[in-house]
Amino acid sequence: MSTVSGLGRRMLRTLFTATALATLLAGAASAWGAEDTLAAIKARGVLKWGADAEGGAPFVFPDPQQPEKLIGFETELAVTLAAKLGVKAEMVQNQWDQLTPALLRGNFDLILNGLELTPENQQRIAMSRPYFVYAQQIVTRKETAGLTRLEDLKDKAVGVLSSSVAQRLAEEAGIAGLKIYPGNVESFRDLKALRIEAVVLDLPIAIHYAKPDATLKLAGPAFAPGYYAIGVRKGDAALLAALNQAIEQLAADQTLQRIYEKYGVWDERQSGLKDFQAEVVEQKAAISTLREWPKYLPLLLRGALTTVELSVLAMALAVVAGLGLALARLFGVAPLRWLATAYIEVIRGTPLLIQLFLIYYGLPEVGIRLNAFAAAVLGLGLNYAANEAENYRAGIQAIPHGQMEAALALGLNRWQALRHVVLPQALRLVIPPVTNDFIALFKDSSIVSVITMVELTKVYGMLAMSTYDYIGLGVMTAGIYFALSYPASIFASRLEKKLGHDCR
């Protein structure tokens, strides 16, 4: 009796575990898409759509009158589509060039944000029928003449949005001075700051940003038309079908026209939306960058070279400027001491990103125009100088006061005592923290991609975007970073041991 019931209990438990596991798996599967995304949307009553509102006009952007509210023709389209599905729309903010990986991760249900209907995009995700016909537009400064076609830009400095169609076209056209921006606004700033000669971008953005600006103009006719479409995870067939049906209706009943006219982006081309016929896209085999490393590694190494140049120069600046700051803070006369203290505290208390933006985009407004490399070295160097100053200060203060007294008693003046007695000892003490800072700076240097520097991390991002092999490229990139920073830390610990020995 007891054995039977024991067996029964065990079976029950096994059954229960299996059911729980199956439920869990089913839940996971629904979160990851399959045909259940449409059901999930309806169940939760909310359609989550991914887009980037930063510099996102006229697509998705904060209402200037009510900044907490989003407007834009895609915002209205999302709301309209959600209504067709009987749910509410909820925008999920995501950096534009990372929308596809974020969709695949399951951060939202679909991408509705100027995503071009291209075979490349359709390798990883499924795309709906188009909701908008865009074209490329060249924008220049008002006074610029003769730059009206892509061919005219060959030997010019030209700005494009990262991983946009414009980038691809510009690369195919062999434009030498291509500069790649993470957002739409920054390229116009650089255009006005004379850092670049032209921007190539989607027409709606040009209409919104450049047309009202008296110093800029749309140069030449729009070219290379294409479609914007909604991206969903592959396998979300039910959702895709529902979206296609809804878009077709909105095109037919002129809802699209009404929305687009409101934002000034309706043109003749849009009437073609009604008669769109999908083409079958050939699926290519997934790229393994590890297997094809001879093709990708040199590109990464070229980025790594920039990273090294940048880090070494920035650290050299930081080490020298930091020493000056520390001495000014410790021994300077009153106003100098205050200035050094204020500098150190302000720099340490504000984000590096903001400092870089100020140097790169802010300084041109007062007439100081640095190229991206100089701005990056200056930004990183001046930021780390504040940290190094504090390292030096701690090192100097750790030297017993008796050392300074003994030097003074010998007849050395304060400066001689510092230079010959205190600093040589303090410098030995600060070698470990300064080396650690160098390794940190080396890795922090990836942040300068925000001011258009193409260094190792940026190269990784660009290659990952085109190959979708985040893992293979990630392994290679991390390997390069490690191969460069590990010797530095070995070198530092050797040096530290050697100097420490001399000291005793």
């Binding site: 017993p400 008796g402 050392q403 007294e405 003994a406 030097a407 003074l408 008693a409 010998l410 007849g411 050395l412 003046n413 001689q416 010959h420 007695v421 040589p424 000892q425 030995r428 001399d502 000291c503 005793r504």
Partner: protein, 250 residues
Amino acid sequence: MIAVERLVKSYRATRVLHGIDHAQARGETVVLIGPSGCGKSTFLRCLNQLEIADSGRITIGDITVEGGHAPRTREERERQGQLRRRAGMVFQQFNLFPHLTVLQNVTAGPTIVKGANRAEAEATARELLAKVGLADKAGAHPGQLSGGQQQRVAIARALAMQPEVMLFDEPTSALDPELRDEVLGVMRRLAEEGMTMIVVTHEMQFARDVADRVVFFDRGLVAEAGTPEQIFLAPQNERTREFLRKTSTR
């Protein structure tokens, strides 16, 4: 040789020196004794300007510095430097420069301050190291030496500047008893060679044997001064007697 007039020094609200007068001839060795906190070390530190007196006047050789404020003009700084160069200082904690070799410690003053020729400075330094019995340690770092050896290097370092006066601030207090004699021996020879010295110490035997004059400091004033015989055998001041009674029981 040394003349100190009405030297007053306070640390914030606490007055440490209440107007010290002191005169000392060339070649004389004076030992300062007294309970801790009586101001003997502060007095020494004022002499070579590690502390700036509130008021009073300090003369060493041909240089006179007035108290009141730290040097402000180039000329005042120059005068302070001159005074310091005339007075060599030996500290309780040796304060050798740990990143330099013994030889470099001794040549640092002449080469940096006087711009002396390196070869000449090294030759002089080796002589001085031989004099303090450390000729074989020239290439060592201070960390490799015993306390007694370090203090002897410190004496050589001070002597390398050819001072007119040597100031010793409790030079053996940080040393184990068995290491004190080697330092005291060096000091004794210096005194015999005619160096002008002021020594702050608790070594009463040294004071008895070497001092030309013993000065008893008490609460920031010179309470009593005289030959070692006068002070140790027939102290006049009640505080002196009490102090000597206490130290002799150690």
